[in-house]
Each structure stands twice: as structure tokens, then as C-alpha cells.
Amino acid sequence: QKEVEQDPGPLSVPEGAIVSLNCTYSNSAFQYFMWYRQYSRKGPELLMYTYSSGNKEDGRFTAQVDKSSKYISLFIRDSQPSDSATYLCAAWDGGATNKLIFGTGTLLAVQP
């Protein structure tokens, strides 16, 4: 079992839809959770970052962590064609190795 599991998609939605992207993880030691956005042929860029459980909102994006069920989510409101990208979740246990564990990524296409 991978430490971080993510549905690869692809996920296709119409413009303006609410998008829900999800990951599950198995390591209870994970404390820090991140979402990266990767456009085609580009490096991933950090989109959202949360520590422990709870919600974090940034504009149209909301990151949610439920440590009791080991579930992390990214919600995109009023989705735009420019949101079309691969979204990768990542987790870190706070250890000295500083190694993030990534999900495989979900490919999102927002249709105009």
C-alpha cells in the first residue's frame, strides 16, 4: 500500500463547477499536508499548505484535512479553464529527512 493514495482521474468538469480532489494516507505520523498544482510540461507549484486537521481557505481554494479518517481534500469553487492541471497531494511527518510523500496526482480538465 502506498503511503499516500490519490485517484489519477482524469476528472472533467464544466466551467463554474465545484471541484473536489481527494487523497487518503496511511501513516498516522503525517502532520503537514500540501497540495501542488502542475501545468503540463512545468514543475509543480505549491498551492495550499495545512498543518494537522482543519480547513484552510485561499480565494477559490479550500484545503481540508481529517486526521481521524486520514483523508485530505482540495475544493475549487467556480472552477476556471485555467485551473486545468494535475493536482498532487503531499504529506510530511515532520521528521529530519524533510521528505515529502506525494500522491500520483489527479488530472483535472475544466471545460469552457
Binding site: 490519490q6 501542488y36 514543475g43 510530511w92 529527512t97 524533510n98 521528505k99 500520483t104
Partner: protein, 113 residues
Amino acid sequence: SQTIHQWPATLVQPVGSPLSLECTVEGTSNPNLYWYRQAAGRGLQLLFYSVGIGQISSEVPQNLSASRPQDRQFILSSKKLLLSDSGFYLCAWAGTVANYGYTFGSGTRLTVV
């Protein structure tokens, strides 16, 4: 501000040829440095990471090697490329992961023919 440079952007190399990809970071000191490979339609595979000059940890046995000759320079190499080495190679750096996560370079698309 910190920036990361990775080159070249694309590379086409014949099987059996050597490889050298370079990554440099500016605006920070003693960063943690990482090399990832991303195969088409697949996730990020950590290849090497380094916490200091000359300190390299390998995550998977393979045809590649890494070196860190200077604090902010990370090099990925191969003596003889295989077809299976094709992929998208990403360099990343982290200062304090807890605060900023990783910052990735723009990537090198390697095609071995």
C-alpha cells in the same frame, strides 16, 4: 528571494550516451535538495536527496547518480543512458519544509532514443 534554476529544458540523447543535468539554487544557504523523475501519467519518484555538500542519499537503485559539489548545486548524472531513463526530471529545494514545502525547478524533459 529564492530561485531555482534547472537546465536544459529538453534533451534528446542516444542510448549509451552520458548525462549531466544541473540544478542551482539562489538566495538561500544549506538547502535540502532533491531529484525527482516523473514518467508520463505517473507520479513523482524521488531519486536522490541531499542535506549538505557531499551528502547524497539514493532512494532507488538505478542507472543514475547524483553529486553536490557546492552548497547550492545539485547534479544528476549517468555514464550510459538506457531507454528506461526517459522521463521528466525535476529538481527541488526545501529550506524549512514545515513552512514552505518544496520549490520545484521547471524540469528537464529527457528522451533517450
